[in-house]
Symmetry: C2
Subunit: 211 residues, 2 copies
């Protein structure tokens, strides 16, 4: 049975799940969520996910939210993209928590403020503050990737797919690949994986559709 | 052998780990990190945790960082504070990711900006923005706790210990228990667990020590 993913093109969290299922060879189809008109906070959607967030995965009787939990599920179900030992699996979880705590959550809101909010409402001080936090996070990731091709072990895992989720988007949020050479080359390695697609080619909806 | 936790009193993330080990009956002792003088970003400390964060747990040969990974380890090792089924364990993970993504990470920096930064440097616009994000998160948690005593299942789990980590601290960060009655009663239930202690009584260091 084909899994269904509630998602929208601009959502880096959804992209993580979509990319993991695609690379692991799982069949899935998107259900577009009209996030920018508030669908994710509607009473109907809160029945699906009380957290009011995308993505949500429906796979048979399984309903999951939080991209990292979906990544963990996809990896367990397919036997792909996971670690090769208990220690590697713990390292993967560690980087996924770091990503949720320090990287993706801050990129998500910074990118929103800088691109999807009407220009006259964009809070300069907040954007500057968040870009400072992001710089510290890029530093941690770049330093780590100086030592190895992939975040954990010798091959791509869901830790890589979690951390890269927002980094392929074209809208500015204070990230220039040229400043972070090890992140830059790692993104090239991910983009070279068979089946890889850009987020706007993998999920419905993009800023271009809305203008 | 007694586990060692790199921590400091003001760290809500450290408190989650300290509280979990205490409630699960694991022996541990603290190693105080002089966070406010930059120890967590020193070359020596980066050897212990390249992410430059506390807590870090040393338990025999195991070295772990990211509070949620430590919580997961404590629960697996002791057989306590975990879910009773695969579905419950997935729910626990879901709430821990939500906490890292939407709750604790935002409280941590808001509380820092409002209390530990010198008054003339406190960025008003950033604090207001983050308090708005926090309000949305409290709403999700309060609504969830209206339906059940604990976040997942019928008893306290590491999901509760993750989400409550910052909520016992006395410094203002835009959270008033009176506004969130279900969170308020849940915090009372946690504080009534045998062995519970306030963060400043459980770990070395507190603002009082520094003034």
């Amino acid at each position: 049975m084909t899994a269904k993913l509630y998602c929208f093109g601009e959502s880096g969290s959804s992209y993580k799940a979509a990319l993991a299922m695609t690379l692991a060879g799982m069949e899935w189809e998107p259900i577009w969520v009209d996030f920018f008109n508030g669908e994710a906070r509607s009473p109907q959607y809160l029945q699906i996910n009380e957290m009011g967030e995308v993505p949500v995965l429906l796979d048979g009787d399984t309903v999951l939210s939080q991209s990292a939990v979906i990544l963990d599920y996809v990896s367990s179900k397919t036997g792909k993209l996971g670690g090769k030992s208990a220690a590697e699996r713990r390292e993967i979880l560690r980087w996924m928590f770091w990503d949720n705590h320090k990287l993706s959550t801050v990129i998500g809101s910074t990118r929103y403020l800088m691109n999807f909010l009407v220009p006259e409402k964009r809070p300069t001080e907040v954007i500057r503050f968040q870009q400072g936090r992001l710089k510290a996070a890029y530093q941690v990731l770049d330093r780590h990737l100086a030592k190895s091709d992939w975040i954990v072990g010798e091959a791509v895992t869901i830790a890589d797919l979690s951390c890269c989720g927002y980094l392929f988007y074209p809208e500015p949020f204070g990230f220039d690949r040229a400043d972070w050479p090890h992140i830059d080359r790692w993104l090239d390695r991910i983009a070279a994986l068979p089946g890889w697609k850009h987020p706007y080619d993998m999920m419905p909806g993009s800023p271009a559709d809305r203008t």
